[in-house]
Amino acid sequence: MAAGASLELVKVTKMYGHVTAVDAIDLRIPAGSYCCLLGPSGCGKTSTLRMIAGHESATSGDIIVGAKNVTELPPAGRGTAMMFQSYALFPHLSVIDNVAFALKMKGVSKPERHARARELLELVDMQSYAGRLPAQLSGGQQQRVALARALITSPQILLLDEPLSALDPFLRLRMRAELKRLQRELGLTFIHVTHGQDEAMALSDLVVLMNGGRIEQQGSPREIFNHPRTEFAARFIGGHNVIPLNGDTFAVRVDRVQLKAPNVAIDGPAVPGTISKIEYQGTYVLVAVATDGGPEISAQLSDDQFDAETHVIGERVVVTWNPAYADTLTPRPAAAAPAAELVA
């Protein structure tokens, strides 16, 4: 199996008529890494993936796989393979013929391509289903077959378009682990499109957060979660309060917010407010504070902490946090400081 290749996008733009779907993005994905393109629907992540795959032509810019500029090449000549959303298995072909399809197109003889397909079915643990039709498989099984079909061309980069969205939550977690395992074992570069930040965090080496056709922020999941740079990033990644204070906007993780009594002296930022909601969540307690004339701030307190402090609804408190844990957000003209709220 070919090892993974790096991918580089240089000022890649996609226009549909006058609508810009992808706006001159630059991106470098190192070889052998797991990259998630993350963002809300319509952010351009799928268009980007389809341009990398060659199913959509780039309006301008260059797409470079390894050392080769593939911008003008057909999908099969790029060293990429795509796993489609809802898998797009050929309904009239058996599992083994689905997997062997690309080799058949190359004119590989039947015994040879079936032998190769069997190897790949073994890799995804589907060898005993070789003779079945796709309609006779469950969603998870279909996905394994789709994975095997994509891998048979020995691609250097595997492109996955929302691969987990068609599965139920339980199966999603299992397949997620399996994707990660396969990626690690095969050493391929995976580029995975998703709108689920939990999926992106669990899988990626590199998260590329997209919004409105641009890359909002990129980095390791830890970097993005701990240091969101924009309000959009802080809200989309979840678990943060976006708090405007003294002309700046800060992102503070909900578990790093502290609640103090109004009469306690505070060294640092202080936002007074009233507790409006207390939600018990099992391992922690979520306390919502309606600040005076400002946004609602959520505080995640551990069980013990909550028991020690004994808050009640209607209580006056002052919200504070360690300034070292807060990130100053880059203001974006478009997102002119609306009310801060928790995006879970």
Partner: protein
């Protein structure tokens, strides 16, 4: 629907009475009604099912099965020059195949006629399939907007706004010896005298049949094609398939149900056709349908019926061969 279910399914309590031996054996006197009652209910349920299917069955029996049975019965009646005689006789069949064995290896009239009909049918089928497939392919894969797909499909139905006969007759001024096509060809100097075989020939018959029936191919094939997930085409492209390979490996196999249904339409219509072949062939070309018509006009009903039965048999054989290739019921 719901109320029907409530009425007809036996209540659970009665079921227990009926199926538990304890209730039946011990509690003899009060519960003896229960089995009978539940039996009645089951009978009612079954009769309701029959009633629901009834109207369609009645129409089917009255207007299809009954005439068909009559045709088969009449086909084994005797006849003379002016009337049919209700007595068992295979004269209808023997007359039809007269001389078929004696004149071998020379083909008899009936075999020649059927071969000619099959030839016309095959040509028409092949051409309608070819044209119909491409039209459907264009509509399904090249026309992106739903609105244009509908507009263009409706455009295909425009010929059906006028009668079959008018559409056939319209060919005559076009293809005749002094028709538009010949005038054009002679005028342009491609030929020095008008082409004779343009009209009242097998060419004109096939042309008219193709013109009339291509639409019957387009609709079912188009219907199959728009159900093909476009991502399958992309997946094939992703796997390195060329356009032609995608067509052969993906589009054609997945359009098979439509192709078979369209083929059944065209083949059954053309096999029995006598009007088009009559008009466009200048009444010079024999066909299976024309034999029946000729026998009918000679008032030889048993002979006509015998020919109808033979034609039906041949058509059934062709169709069952086609449905062997694709299980249409499964694909619908």
């Amino acid at each position: 629907m719901l109320s029907w279910a409530r009425q007809t399914f036996p209540a659970p309590s009665i079921r227990i009475d009926r199926f538990s031996p304890v209730a039946v054996t011990i509690d003899n006197s009060p519960d003896t009604i229960a089995p009978a009652d539940s039996g009645l209910r089951r009978l009612a349920m079954r009769s309701i099912a029959w009633l629901q299917a009834g109207p369609m069955m009645l129409v089917f029996a009255l207007f299809f099965l009954l005439p068909l049975v009559l045709v088969v019965i009449v086909s084994v009646w005797d006849y003379n020059e002016y009337e049919m005689i209700p007595a068992l006789s295979f004269r209808g069949y023997t007359d039809t195949f007269e001389g078929c064995v004696a004149n071998l290896p020379e083909l008899c009239t009936i075999l020649k006629t059927y071969l000619k009909t099959l030839k016309l049918c095959l040509l028409t089928w092949g051409l309608t399939l070819l044209i119909g497939f491409w039209v459907a392919y264009f509509l399904a894969f090249h026309v992106r907007s739903k609105t244009w797909q509908i507009v263009l499909s409706l455009l295909c139905t425009i010929p059906f706004w006028t009668s079959n006969v008018i559409r056939m007759i319209a060919w005559i001024p076009l293809l005749g010896r002094n028709g538009l096509v010949n005038q054009g060809l002679v005028g342009a100097g491609f030929v020095n005298k008008p082409i004779e075989w343009l009209l009242f020939s097998e060419f004109s018959v096939v042309l008219a049949l193709v013109h009339l029936f291509t639409f019957f191919m387009v609709v079912p094939i188009f219907n199959s094609m728009i159900r093909i997930d476009k991502r399958l085409i992309e997946a094939a492209y992703d796997a390195g398939a060329s356009g032609w390979q995608t067509l052969v490996n993906i589009v054609i196999p997945l359009s098979k149900p439509g192709i078979v249904i369209g083929s059944i339409f065209v083949i059954t219509i053309v096999m029995g056709d006598f009007v088009t072949i009559g008009v466009m062939g200048g009444q010079q070309i024999a066909s299976a349908g024309k034999i029946i018509e000729a026998r009918l006009s000679a008032l030889q009903f048993p002979a006509a019926a015998a020919n109808a039965v033979i034609l039906l048999g041949i058509t059934i054989i062709i169709i069952s061969a086609l449905t062997r290739i694709v299980d249409v019921r499964k694909e619908l």
